[in-house]
Amino acid sequence: MMRVIATCFVLTIAGIANATEVMRMAVTTSFHNSGLAEVLLPEIKADLDLEVQLLVVGTGQALKLGRSGDVDAILVHSKAAEEAFVADGFGTHRREIMYNDFVLIGPSDDPAGVAKAASAAEALQKIATMQTLFVSRGDDSGTHKKELSLWASAGQEVDSFTGWYRAVGAGMGAALNTASAMNAYILSDRASWLNFGNKGDLALLFSGDAVLFNQYAYLPVNPARHPHAKQELAAQLEDWLTSDRAKGLINGYTVDENALFVFNAR
């Protein structure tokens, strides 16, 4: 008995002591659920001998982790919040890496008729008029912020919505699960939708409007603010993410023969 306990104890201590050179990056749930991370991380490890530990959170929390200096870099998609992050001195700069797009998901029989809408704003207006169930992330994530700006452009007041608008306060996958169970409309990024395993009666109804463009940007945490931030490793990773090697991997990543991301770093 004592030997078992002692072994476990030693293992715990060994786990603590085994902290090698690694860097931490906060990424959004939508990026991680796309499955691209599983392609890129092993290549980064092979090329740079750098272990990137991912913290998968919403954009709001990712920026918060950067502000408190608990990560070395962040990869998120909410331009206004990112620019505020850099302006406040928490990040050294903002580098655009790639984009994917948002899509409107809903019940396959489409009671609100969004599939025939001419624009994203019109599609949302139809949902608001019909008052069909709509699931919102409600977690201050990049996708949530995008959704709010789309409602605003459709001339709708989110605060005035009644029971049909359900803010679940959860990640992309969990929100899709909720929408699937309620057979509701939801705004999702394309990658998460294609990789989602519990589609039920949901279908992709609307996509392609230019306002649904979803830009991912890389922001290293400012070492002037947090001296322990691993600036050199963050710079190495940035060089890799903007290299031709990353370009090939990102553009070449497909799910069910759909390309998910478009590399656009300059």
């Binding site: 476990c8 293992l11 603590i16 913290l55 200096g69 608990d70 996958g173 989602f196 322990h228």
Partner: protein, 234 residues
Amino acid sequence: MADLWAGLSQAFWLVLTFDAELMEISARSLQVTLGALIIACMIAMPLAALLAVRRFRLRRAVIAVLNALMGLPPVVVGLIVYVMLSRSGPFGVLGLLFTPTAMVIAQVIIIVPLIASIAHQSLRDLWQEYHDLLISMNVTQWQKMRTLLWDARRALLTAALAGFGRAIGEVGAIMIVGGNIDQATRVLTTAIALETGRGDFALALALGFVLIGLAVTVNLAMHWLSRTEREGRW
């Protein structure tokens, strides 16, 4: 229902083929939880014994607080530990956030009140029996505590197992302080939450069955090692 069967069969295959990733996160689950359990027992059991043998002014208050803290919400503990260990927090320089150590700290805080409360209940009963004898032998406080702890060891095992049960199935706190980082802080419960988020219910269930199996195995092993429930013993 189909997911349930798919989960069961997937769990079966994962275990049968010694899936490397499964082994790794299961080992980490055990490592974190057993580590937390050992530390928590070293704090909670002497505390329980002290509360049983010693009479001091705030004794009732301490017991009441310990009992109340049994229901401590893990997510709040997680948040508090997070704020403490964050780089902007008071213990930020230690760089412990998002490491297994942080997870152990959170779990220790969660299970110490539980173990101490249950242990104290049984030690108090035993103390009533032993009180006159030990007083008449004029032993020291330390000897009283040691005697109680040793003679109540089987009841204390139950207290420890209750703590183990709470810690191994916990997800709220360790998700926040561990961050669910692949190959660093991912354990069974956080992996289940992740796979549920991806809509892969079968794999999530499979991991869940492995977790239940692990908990049962550890409980059986502890009983076997301490030889309880045998003939002629209590």
